[in-house]
Subunit: 411 residues, 2 copies
């Protein structure tokens, strides 16, 4: 079944709201194996909506609309679909009692009467959270599903009524499942290069790379007759990918680097302290997004100035004098210094140049990461491009990723 | 000029990301008086994209595409537009040097070469934050604007290159200008309530409240025959609003609370140190987004544990014992402690409960802010609702806002 979503509402075209309804319906549809091929957003305008309905019904079997079911004049989705399908609008008792019940003691504006009119032959979709019932219309082997715009109304309606309906309708050819592999430390093009033959050879599951904020993701999508088969296919493909670039994969689906690292620290009962310079508190900020991290995180300091590095972390001034504040040596001294002071298992540090100005004749984007523990002291050098915010973010993720690899290797 | 947006990417149709690009472009277009009539999302599929381009070019003068400019095989937007317009793809030196510069010492995957190929006759749109340059193509009185998908790349490209271009192209029947007032410390409904009569009375300029992440904004939009007239109209309306709620307005347009506070600190030559607890480094992280803040920020510590509060900030254990770690008294002691240690002009502190678990029988969302300087010691109590990330963010902004008001009042 080829599906598409038409979202009706001028507020979408003015950018006043984001089209989260289309995202939600797409996610849910993918879960139950319905392919969505297009999203369209159109304003509260009868003629443009008619045009869009015509285009959609020529290319799709399933058309899901959102929005335009309210009581006001610019709510015209149902009426326009009725016009398009050449169906009269008729009263539905069930919808009428829902609206009247909603207003019970209060006076009902007469405009609300349109909320119990639907194209003849509709099946109603009950709405627990509002007065706008939805409807399903089957006509000439096309299915129209008509839903209200507010997400708190649409979402339960979709899950409770539309999904079971679609499952009963769709050809029994199977489900679509996908898994996202989260990668740090490889560019999108490098990732693709390293698994190019897999991407090209595979048609089911498919493998699609996507670039995020300093990260890359790979989406594996399998079509199969049931969930178990799809999962097996995904796992087989995932294994082939991991054999090539496993060391760069830090998690799947909704995992984030801070969550991956934070969870390891908490589960392994490891305490940590952090000394940040160019990342300006961002590493600690990311790590403290993880619930329960207070059990692991003893202390974090942002020692921006050379003075603070010397005074707070006990770094020997000679080290900074000789090698510079942005160096392997200073990164190491910072990691050791904060660890000693906090008496934590691990000390993590970053020192570098976020820009816009360079420091010590060293380039913007250069940074060093230090990790110190009983299991060994390590430093890492990175060069990154981008503006101040990009470098701060990238250096923070790089530090968390080196820590992740360190924890796996040594602890 | 009739415009529409085509977003290319299978990830949109699977619901893996929300179409924030379409929202952003719609907002910005409305600001400069360009009407957007349709949004379409389509997958990484040449034939479906060709169909969508055909439909769009029949009904619109301006077609803005997002996504599909990466180096990988499923990135096919430029190639498909070239095919649609029957134009050859040619090399652009400027784009080539951008890509090569990006990879400088590292090896460039050969697939990146496609990032310097564009339909013949394109004007390039430079991309500061990535290797995917965009382009503008004028053909048969239609304009095609081709942008990459990642918001951090697309947004500056749109503001810096596309907006001036569109302004130069659009009909000269007048201008639309707007200014956004940034508000902290008032809810959207409270803001609306306090200026309800202004909102209702005004038709030009219009006043539109919008809720953001812990903040509220008011957009004033004026239509006038020229920029000066529009500006005068905006300023008159702004004055009326400021007379009512001026103390809550911390800036305009692209101002942020960290930028407003950071700029004040730098310009007034005031040094600061910060002791964070429940905000986990986020205040310092936000403040270090401001270039040049290293002149003001001496030291910041995240003292999550009670031990660290006592050892690092020299807080008397009796204070914590008697009043709790989340209290006016501890917030004050933290602010004084960090200020004394760093010998800075100001000490700023936050202590509170970000959740999910409550502490000391105090509720999640309770937090205290402390500010200490020669000009006086102050503490502030807040109660907020929301999850851990929301509370961290809100408490960080609240601390910056109290500091902003303190700086205005006392320093």
């Amino acid at each position: 079944m080829k599906g598409e979503i038409i979202s009706v509402g001028t507020e979408l075209l003015l950018g006043q709201i984001c089209n989260t309804d289309a995202q939600f319906i797409s996610q849910e549809s993918a879960e139950i194996g319905i392919d969505i091929y297009f999203h369209t957003a159109v304003g509260d305008n009868r003629y443009r909506l008619l045009d869009v309905l015509k285009i959609a019904s020529e290319r799709s079997d399933l058309i899901i609309t959102t929005g335009g079911l309210g009581p006001t004049e610019d709510d015209l989705t149902k009426e326009t679909i009725a016009q398009f399908l050449n169906l009269p609008m008729v009263e539905y008792e069930q919808a009428k009692s829902r609206v009247i019940e909603h207003f019970h003691s209060r006076e009902m504006p007469s405009s609300n009467k349109k909320q119990w009119l639907f194209p003849e032959g509709s099946k109603l979709i009950p709405n627990r959270n509002g007065t706008a019932s939805g409807c399903i219309i089957e006509r000439d082997s096309k299915i129209f599903i008509v839903l209200p715009g507010p997400p708190n109304e649409l979402q339960p309606m979709f899950k409770e009524t539309v999904e079971p309906y679609l499952l009963s309708k769709k050809d029994k050819s199977g489900v679509i499942k996908s898994r996202v592999l989260k990668i740090f430390g490889l560019s999108e093009s490098k990732t693709e290069e390293m698994i190019k033959d897999l991407i090209e050879r595979q048609t089911n599951p498919t493998i699609a790379p996507l670039v995020g904020k300093g990260e890359v993701t790979l989406r594996i999508t399998a079509k199969a007759s049931d969930n178990n088969e799809a999962l097996e296919m995904i796992e087989e493909t995932e294994k082939m990918i991991r054999d090539r670039i496993g060391e760069y994969i830090y998690g799947i689906d909704n995992d984030t680097l801070p969550l991956a690292v934070g969870t390891m620290l908490i589960n392994k009962n490891i305490t940590i302290s952090i000394a940040e310079s160019c990342t300006g508190g961002n590493i600690t900020n990311l790590l403290t997004d993880v619930s329960g991290i207070s059990r692991s995180l003893i202390l974090s300091e942002v020692t921006y100035s050379i003075d603070a590095k010397i005074k707070e972390l006990g770094i020997c001034p000679d080290v900074i004098e000789q090698f510079g504040a942005v160096s392997h040596e200073t990164a190491m001294a910072m990691a050791k210094g904060i660890r000693k002071k906090a008496m934590s298992d691990i000390g993590l540090s970053v020192t570098g140049i976020a820009g816009p100005d360079s420091v010590e004749d060293k380039p913007v984007g250069l940074f060093y990461i230090g990790i110190s523990s009983l299991y060994g002291d390590k430093t890492y050098e990175f060069n990154s491009k981008g503006n101040r915010l990009w470098i701060k973010n990238f250096a923070s993720l790089a530090a968390l990723n080196e820590l992740r690899k360190y924890l796996i290797k040594y602890m």
